[in-house]
Amino acid sequence: MSAALQFLKMVTFWELLKGMRVTHKYMVKPKVTELYPDVRPVLPYRTKGRLHVEIETCISCRMCEKACPEGCIKVFPPPKEVFKTDKRPAEFYLNQEHCLHCGLCVDPCPTGSIHHSQEFELVVFDHRELLFDRERLPYDLDQTRYRWNWIENVPVKK
């Protein structure tokens, strides 16, 4: 019986046919290719894209500036008289060109004013486009495409 089976397997090239079955399974499976410009990728929740700063809630504490290993954040608090009532920074420089996307500035922020957005398309023709100041910081990000929000440092235990 076993010998007959073996003979049958030999004349039908059974092992080769098995290989063909395997490859054909992959033929009908869904493909792994990402059609990136046509179909937007679904990014993970904790994606570290371009930094987004909420100037309105910032209290000019300069914690992010101290935390930044690249020194790409510069915060200028407003004059003392103004600071008593309005703590928003007089000027906020963000050099996205040097940013490591390390997230160290996000951790110490007491008000959660700085965090990563999901924008990852940071290619520009002029590197000055990556230098942000107070005027350009609340740039017009499309919330549906690049959502940004306060992300807990530690994954939430469920």
Binding site: G19, V22, Y26, M27, T33
Partner: protein, 350 residues
């Protein structure tokens, strides 16, 4: 020599050649697209899909790219042979299509019958076999005249490969010819129609041998020894631009031709499955002709898909392994099958 004679002997074949060449070139060009696309599917990717819808303009883009490339002739090459070698490969691949019968004759409104074939010669299948052997000379010449050692080795592998597959290929075809009683492709199809089933059943072993030998003949994986696209360096290393494209077109034309011939020999060619062709042909001749072409094309596409499938699956053989398979496995099998088929014909198909 009156005008009618000229029209029948020269005008009509020329017209048929024109009518045939356009679809054949289109099919050959889209065979490349088909293979890349399906091969991509086998490898969990999508294949070329950027040029035009579904990547359908990819062959045009490839052709343009190759046309615009520089045509390099190496300093060590023998220029005349180097330039002629792709033509030697290209020409036989196309001539083979002349003897393929594509459908039952077209009946014009005036009642004239025009065969769906350029030259319905009575040694059609032999012509195809001999021409495909000629095509190998293009490969051997190309590698040899390149004046480079790696293409020369590719040519050597091609020569040894030809020794391996020619005899089993011919023997497997001979068993079909024995069943049909004719070398003419339209007769072979007619014999299958008369028999009522395709030669796939009585010629199952011959079919297997033919497939293996045909893959070797078209220089495709697992027997792409002369080319060795993935690892070893092949015979067209020194070729560039349009001459390289000629080799490629020749290869794919060979694939299409082999698929079509396999469909004609073993799957009933232009016979429409599950339909009594002869009865329907008497009442609706043009419908049968048109459907016959479609049926033929579908059967050929089946083989083309099969060729891509095995390319996506099996690794390459060494050329000594191919020789061993050809002479120690395929040749005895084909020979024994030939005897069996002869007995089958003698006792059962009288």
């Amino acid at each position: 020599m009156n005008e009618n004679w000229l029209l029948a002997q020269i005008g009509m074949p020329l017209l048929k050649i024109l009518i045939l060449l356009v679809p054949v070139f289109t099919v050959v060009a889209y065979m490349v697209w088909f293979e890349r696309r399906v091969l991509g599917f086998f490898q969990s990717r999508l294949g070329p899909n950027r040029v035009g819808p579904l990547g359908l303009l990819q062959p045009v883009a490839d052709g343009l790219k190759l046309l615009l490339k520089e045509d390099i002739v190496p300093a060590n090459a023998r220029p005349f042979l180097f330039k002629m070698a792709p033509v030697f490969s290209f020409f036989p691949a196309l001539v083979g299509f002349a003897v393929v019968s594509w459908a039952l004759p077209w009946v014009s409104p005036a009642g004239n019958r025009h065969g769906f074939v350029i030259a319905d010669v009575n040694l059609g299948i032999l012509l195809i076999l001999s021409l495909s052997s000629l095509g190998i000379f293009g490969i051997i010449l190309g590698g040899w005249s390149s004046g480079s050692k790696y293409p020369l080795f590719g040519s050597l592998r091609s020569a040894s490969q030809m020794l391996a597959y020619e005899v089993p290929l011919t023997l497997s075809v001979i068993s079909v010819v024995l069943l049909a009683g004719s070398f003419r492709l339209s007769d072979i199809v007619a014999a299958q129609q008369a028999l009522g089933w395709y030669f796939l059943f009585p010629g199952l072993v011959a079919f297997g041998v033919y497939i293996v030998a045909a893959v070797a003949e078209t220089n495709r994986t697992p027997f792409d020894l002369p080319e060795g696209e993935s690892e070893i360096i092949g015979f067209h290393t020194e070729y560039s631009g349009m001459r390289f494209a000629f080799y490629f077109v020749a290869e794919y034309a060979n694939v299409v031709l082999t698929s079509v011939v396999a469909a004609a020999l073993f799957l009933g060619g232009y016979d429409i499955p599950f339909v009594k062709d002869a009865a329907l042909y008497a009442t609706h001749p043009r419908l049968v002709s048109a459907l016959g072409v479609c049926s033929f094309a579908a059967k050929g596409a089946l083989f083309a898909y099969f060729f891509v499938w095995i390319r996506a699956t099996w690794p390459r053989y060494r050329y000594d392994q191919l020789l061993r398979i050809g002479w120690l496995v395929l040749f005895p099998i084909a020979m024994a099958n030939l005897v069996l088929v002869a007995l089958f014909k003698l006792w059962l198909l009288r």
